[in-house]
């Protein structure tokens, strides 16, 4: 046990902990002191002082000769060595990532501004304001034309007495999430995050990393959790605490143990992750390209023609010259006839006409090529291939009919028949009625065909009466007013979204860090002090988060501490002191 503890506490403490098994302790002179402290509480301090003196002897051979060691041992709040090598490294790296962006920026700013920014009520105010602005942003319809706001929020009858379109437009609430007010608040919050990390969190962690023995029973008894175990030894307690995952340090009659220090570091990580996400978001907003295109099956387009720069640092790459060919667009259906998935078979060709990539994309499965992502987002029917009296095939273009509400789409076309001079052909008058069942009827339209998806095409005759339903590829002709019509195929076109976003890796890094650090933040930093006072062990402890679980855990652990029964074992335990 002692060996492990020694290895855990490097530098000066190591020297002291090693002392526990050094032959010096077994000198008769020392023993008397130990027993002296057992009998008298007052004298126990002198005993620990003696230990201090002994340890001084030892530590003088070490590097830090100039510092008065004896004082340090008694006033343990003084400078304290680092916990372990690993801890040291991790804090160093954490500090580094923190200080590179923060230090340069903050050093120029006056100290006053930083402390003002790090103010907790200010940060809470900022967060509340941002929350309120976002709520307003969802309440007001975003991105409409000014006329819309003139109508919705007229000046003569303003909302809540004051809220009219003038406010909305001047504050930019019609595009809340890119309005200067909102972005300004975010920037302010980012500044607060940095200031808080710099002025509050890092010093807090420095304090938490500093560990100390408590040598007075009174101080230990002032902790949030206190208990005392009669007939117990502090070593046994140390072993049990180590078994429970605590880092344990022993020095003479004093014990210090802690657990969950990572819970102290994690909030810093949370702040850094937030900043990382903000940086990534800025990068996305200023350096991305976006575009969407609807391509009929069999046609191609060049990526660069579709992608439009989004921000001022958007830079086109070589990949923009890639040509995309839509090989095939298809849909999967459930048995009930609902669409289950859309697929688009895409081929990418470079400038030399060589195929560099081929992939069938679908919703949730985009194509990624050199930073450009192609998403399946939409679909439509571009044309209907029909045979008229076994002539053809003819391609008839289809047009989307506007449906208000619902996610169903409707396309219509109209087949010119008979006399081309007839007014019926010229006036492409389309009117759509909606009945209760959401079932559209194309009336007054000769031989119109409606398609809800690529599966079924509804045909109407010259009077607008329902004529029948046909599936493409079914090859069954339908007879409308003496004309035989066969529907050969419905040609779909694929709606694709293209995007390049340099911010995504940064944002994802932020996401990962945020998830991890938020989870670690749940850990509670628990500290335990114990002091051997005669045969009794006085225990005090505190924790910063798990205030409910901690006393229960302590009770459970303290129950395990063995009771020392006979004097010989007592003797033994103090021999090892």
């Amino acid at each position: 046990m002692l060996i492990t503890m020694a290895s855990m506490s490097p530098s000066k403490t190591q020297g002291q902990t090693l002392l526990l098994r050094s032959p010096l302790l077994h000198s008769s002179n020392f023993k008397t002191h130990v027993f002296a402290f057992l009998t008298n509480n007052k004298r126990s301090q002198s005993a620990s002082l003696k230990i201090g003196v002994v340890s001084k002897l030892k530590t003088i051979t070490q590097k830090e000769k100039e510092t008065p060691i004896s004082r340090k041992i008694i006033l343990s709040e003084g400078k304290v060595p680092t916990l372990s090598e690993k801890e040291e490294v991790s804090t160093k790296s954490q500090k580094k990532t923190e200080e590179i962006p923060v230090m340069g920026l903050l050093k120029k700013m006056p100290r006053k501004i930083i402390t003002a920014l790090a103010n907790l009520p200010l940060a809470i105010g900022e967060m509340s304001t941002i929350a309120a602005l976002m709520a307003i942003g969802t309440a007001i319809d975003q991105g409409e034309a000014p006329d819309y706001y003139f109508q919705m929020y007229p000046e003569d009858s303003p909302l809540y007495g004051i809220f009219s379109w003038r406010w909305i437009l001047s504050l930019g609430f019609d595009h809340m999430f890119s309005s200067p007010v909102f972005l300004g608040m975010l920037i302010l919050l980012a500044a607060s995050l940095m200031a808080c990390t710099y002025t509050t969190q890092i010093p807090l962690v420095k304090v938490a990393r500093r560990w100390s023995f408590l040598n007075s029973a009174e101080v230990i008894k002032k902790q949030e959790f206190t208990d005392s175990l009669p007939k117990a030894s502090v070593q046994d307690l140390g072993v049990i605490l180590m078994g429970a995952g605590y880092e344990v340090f022993l020095k003479g009659p004093s014990l210090y143990a802690f657990k969950g220090l990572a819970g102290r570091f994690a909030p810093i990580g949370v702040h850094i992750a937030m900043l990382l996400i903000m940086v990534g978001g800025t990068l996305s907003a200023s350096g991305s390209f976006r575009g969407s295109v609807t391509v009929p099956q069999g046609l191609n387009f060049v990526m660069g023609d579709v992608l439009a720069p989004n921000g001022f640092i958007s830079n086109p790459t070589k990949a923009f010259n890639t040509e995309v060919h839509v090989n095939k667009f298809s849909m999967d259906y459930y048995d009930s006839g609902e669409v289950s998935q859309y697929h688009t078979d895409l081929s990418l060709y470079d400038l030399n006409g060589k195929e560099v990539m081929r992939k069938t994309i679908s919703v949730n499965d985009p194509l990624r090529y050199e930073g450009i992502t192609i998403y399946q987002t939409d679909w439509s029917i571009s044309a209907l291939q029909i045979l008229k009296d076994n002539e053809g095939p003819f391609n008839i273009a289809m047009a989307p009919l506007k449906l208000n509400g619902g996610d169903k789409k409707l396309f219509g076309t109209f087949l010119p028949v008979g006399d081309t001079d007839s007014p019926n052909v010229k006036g492409m008058y389309v009117s759509v009625f909606y009945l209760l069942h959401h079932f559209p009827i194309l009336a007054y339209e000769p031989r119109s065909m409606l398609a809800r998806d690529l599966q079924s095409i509804v045909l109407y005759d010259l009077e607008g009466k329902f004529a029948g339903v046909r599936r493409p590829n079914s090859k069954i002709p339908i007879d409308i007013d003496g004309i035989k019509i066969t529907i050969v195929d419905a040609i779909g076109s694929s709606g694709l979204d293209l995007k390049t976003d340099p911010g995504v890796p940064v944002v994802y890094a932020g996401f990962g860090a945020l998830m991890l650090t938020t989870c670690i933040s749940y850990l509670s930093h628990s500290q335990i002090w114990a002091l051997q006072d005669g045969t009794t062990v006085i225990i005090g402890g505190k924790t910063n988060r798990a205030k409910i679980e901690f006393p229960e855990e302590m009770d459970r652990l303290l129950d395990q501490v063995p009771e020392i029964v006979n004097s010989s074992s007592l003797q033994k335990s103090f021999d090892s002191l």
Binding site: M127, M134, G137, Q142, E338, N364, T373, Y522, I548
Partner: protein, 323 residues
């Protein structure tokens, strides 16, 4: 058909058991405690948990996808999450008053889900293309778990506020334990069973009352902090996994869709709550007020946005039925 019957049976069993459990809580409050009843209420919640689990599993098997595709299913899942939150301290042997919050919450969500209002939503629906992803399980389950945990935590804070601001607290003496009943508020009767053996019986009543009131408030405060912290982790993971999914399906990891925005507002509110906890001056009542605001915001986020059926998250909303 067998699926519907099974589902019906499970729903009714779980619903009636929770009703019985709540009745037991009421009885222990109003009448003297009957030995064994308190224990049976715990067992009742266990049975409820298995019933709802069974319900969700049958739905999963018969629909072939995770039962989280519409509002009814998500309410059932919420109810299940409440019972899970109840289970956790039960198994780790924590004596607590969480079940007083979780049991009524579970019955209310379940009652709402099975009520006539949503009958059209009972059928498990097909998954639209955008929902066919592995992320569905991660994102939606995390979100609903977080809603459940945050609702529990914020209800504890609401209870704390009620106790703090209520002058007359009825205290019932019991030989081994005592109960504090607080009045009804929006979410129904909430009872607190404090099972500490009172060693202060000999001291004056007033002192005793103040001491226990203080203790109860402190306990509520700590429990709500722990539960909200847990919910906050789930919420963070839920929102972020949703963002990653959105980047796969919609082409952008954040598009200020109303549901997203409200989830972010919820996150911000509970971030404020966690920050108030770091300051000694703001702890207690102030943080409880923030958590209570959070309670309302979760409902806006979870239910209000769906009610409007706007934005990209309009799956399982009411719009289709109202048109």
């Amino acid at each position: 058909m067998i699926f519907f019957t099974l589902e019906h049976i499970l729903t009714h069993i779980s619903f009636s058991i929770i009703s019985i459990v709540i009745t037991i809580y009421l009885m222990t409050l109003l009448v003297h405690e009957i030995v064994g009843l308190a224990d049976s209420s715990e067992k009742g919640m266990l049975v409820t948990f298995f019933c709802i689990t069974g319900l969700l599993v049958t739905r999963w098997i018969f629909s072939g996808h995770l039962p989280l595709s519409n509002l009814y299913e998500s309410f059932m899942f919420l109810s299940w999450s409440f019972s899970i939150i109840q289970m956790v301290p039960y198994f780790s042997n924590h004596k607590n008053n969480l079940s007083a919050i979780t049991a009524p919450s579970a019955i209310f969500t379940q009652g709402f889900a099975t009520s006539g209002l949503l009958t059209e939503m009972h059928q498990s629906t097909i998954l639209v293309p955008a929902l066919q992803s592995q992320w569905l399980m991660m994102h939606v389950s995390m979100m609903i778990l977080s809603y459940a945990a945050l609702l529990c935590g914020s209800l504890l804070s609401v209870a704390l506020l009620v106790i703090t601001f209520r002058k007359n607290i009825n205290i019932f003496y019991k030989s081994t334990n005592f109960l504090i009943g607080i009045g009804t508020f929006s979410f129904g009767e909430i009872l607190y069973v404090n099972e500490r053996i009172n060693f202060l019986q000999n001291t004056s009543f007033l002192l005793f009352r103040n001491y226990h009131r203080h203790q109860l408030i402190q306990q509520l405060d700590r429990w709500s902090y722990r539960v909200i912290s847990l919910g906050f982790i789930f919420l963070t993971i839920g929102i972020l996994s949703g963002a990653v999914w959105a980047n796969e399906a919609w082409g952008s990891y954040w598009s200020w869709d109303p549901k997203e925005t409200w989830a972010f507002i919820t996150w911000t509110i509970f971030a404020i709550y966690l920050h108030t906890r770091t300051n000694k001056n703001l702890q207690g009542t102030n943080s409880a007020i923030v958590a209570s605001i959070g309670f309302l915001i979760i409902w806006v986020c979870y239910f209000g946005v769906n009610l409007l059926g706007v934005g990209l998250h309009s799956y399982g909303s009411f719009t289709l039925t109202s048109n």
